[in-house]
């Protein structure tokens, strides 16, 4: 299948500004970097969390705890795809007890990924709070989940796809919306 890209809704500068703002909001809300931990959800969430971590380091001059979460094993649709989804490593190399954890993901949509991420996180320990930061909130929640930090709210129709590309993973920083109704025959 080939998709037609409808529009770039967020470019490299927008992304950079959003990350800077979110980093400051996190520090503000948590009154500094003490007890703070960032956990990125694979794959783009990890890249975003890395950038936030660097930004916080710049501002506060301190290394905060950092983890990577693969939520595949917590998904509620393991058997629905054609093949088993590939599983990658989860790494949370610090105790969660008493931490103020910020989960980071690229796009918030139905909320199911975040549900899985929270379930996974709880298996590792008992953080004092779990907050959620996302680059894009595109609406259409199916679970009672809301983000604490948002780069940009983008209204979409439910069958649109939002693709976040990060230069570390994709060679370019941009967010665009794909409209399958303009899908080409292939």
């Amino acid at each position: 299948m080939e998709f037609k890209l409808t529009s770039v809704v967020f470019d490299a500068k927008d992304i950079s500004r959003a990350i800077t703002r979110i980093s400051h909001e996190i520090l503000e809300r948590n009154k500094g970097a003490n007890n703070l931990a960032l956990i990125g959800i694979r794959t783009r969430g990890v890249t975003l969390a890395q950038r936030i971590r660097v930004k916080i380091n710049e501002v506060e001059n301190t290394e905060i705890d950092f983890g990577i979460l693969d939520i595949t094993l917590y998904r509620d649709d393991i058997a629905s795809g054609k093949h088993p989804p590939p599983v990658e490593k989860t790494s949370i190399p610090f105790p969660l007890e008493g931490k103020q954890v910020v989960l980071v993901d690229d796009v918030l949509f139905t909320g199911r990924t975040i549900r899985a991420a929270i379930d996974a996180l709880i298996d590792f320990g008992r953080p004092s709070t779990v907050q959620l930061g996302v680059l894009i909130d595109r609406g259409h929640r199916e679970l009672p989940i809301r983000p604490d930090y948002v780069g940009k709210n983008i209204p979409t129709s439910k069958n649109n796809r939002v693709r976040v590309r990060m230069s570390e993973d994709d060679g370019i920083d941009e967010v665009h919306i794909i409209d399958p109704s303009t899908e080409k025959d292939s």
């Binding site: 058997a79 054609k82 093949h83 088993p84 590939p86 599983v87 320990g125």
Partner: protein, 310 residues
């Protein structure tokens, strides 16, 4: 991604399929180090361990693997006296299948048992060892253990030492290792080397000291003490003299040689105690990896829904 229907043997597994299994097992290994050693992935799924042969480690490993994925695991010990009418193996399997398990793990003393069961039921089957035929999960955990330490498998030389003829571990390892581009040398008394095994692309040697000098991995096999009654051995004493891996013999081997053993070990018979406990010995790593490999296989069998891919 690799989507097997059943795991009956290592024979026929392709390199990329083995890599997928090992990569998946690598990620699953971390779960066993968590404070809560469980993920909900296979919640509500049922795995039956049908063991017709006594086994502690393999059965426990499958049980733990299933439970760490939140599956319900049921252990059944079958009687091996299937020659008795009314105790037909296929009947047993079909009865179990009527209770809708998602995976049937089978261990049986007779070669071909897993394949036969798999032909007669729909549910995926994992062969946990059939006679002298195959024990694929053991081979996979052996490879994972070696890869973890050596980094890669391609080009490694392995000596497998002991009763080759009566070992399902050897056959599975030959297939898996050959698929991964490894070189396999079988070592043992000629009475325990099966005819025409060279056709599987392996070499044969009768002399331990010479055979291990250039290898990267030595796999020692358990010697069944009852074999001497079948004209295969003169005595355990002589077997031990000729084939026991001692630190003295190991002096001839490469410094970074790894030692593995599918267990259970006859301490002092096929492997000396100090060798077993040396840092070159990965025997306990094998056991740890066994859980991860079996979790990976369960995940690959039950994740996804494409039944058409074999």
């Amino acid at each position: 991604m690799f989507k097997p229907r059943s795991i009956l043997g290592a024979n026929g597994l392709k390199k990329d399929e083995i890599v997928t299994i090992l990569d998946t097992a690598d990620t699953f290994k971390e779960i066993s180090t968590r404070p809560i050693k469980k993920v909900p992935t296979l919640r509500g799924r049922t795995i039956i361990n049908l063991f017709f042969e006594p086994s502690t480690r393999t059965r426990t490993s499958f049980e733990i693997a299933g439970k760490r994925l939140s599956a319900d695991v049921i252990n059944i010990s079958g009687s091996t006296s299937s020659t008795v009418k009314g105790e037909n193996l296929i009947d047993t399997a079909q009865n179990l299948e009527a209770m809708n398990p998602d995976i049937l793990v089978i261990r049986h003393s007779q070669s071909g048992a897993a394949e036969m069961i798999s032909r007669n039921i729909q549910c995926p089957v994992i062969n946990a060892g059939d006679g002298f035929h195959e024990h694929p999960t053991q081979a996979l955990l052996d490879l994972q253990t070696i890869r973890e330490t050596k980094g890669s498998l391609e080009g490694l030389k392995v000596a497998i030492v002991g009763d080759i003829a009566h070992s399902r571990v050897v056959r599975s390892n030959i297939y898996a290792m050959k698929a991964m581009g490894m070189e396999v040398r079988l070592v043992g008394p000629p009475t325990m080397i099966p005819v025409e095994i060279q056709k599987l692309g392996v070499s044969v040697d009768y002399y331990l000291e010479k055979a291990i000098q250039d290898v990267d991995v030595i796999m020692m096999l358990r010697i069944q003490t009852e074999r001497q009654n079948r004209y295969l051995l003169s005595s355990l004493r002589e077997y031990s003299n000729l084939f026991c891996l001692t630190s003295k013999i190991l002096e001839k081997a490469k410094d970074d040689v790894l030692i593995i053993h599918p267990g259970p070990v006859n301490r002092g018979v096929e492997i000396a105690l100090d060798v077993m406990e040396s840092e070159r010995s990965l025997i306990l790593n094998q056991v740890t990896n066994g859980v991860a490999v079996r979790m990976a296989l369960m995940y690959l069998l039950l994740g996804g829904s494409d039944d058409s891919v074999n």
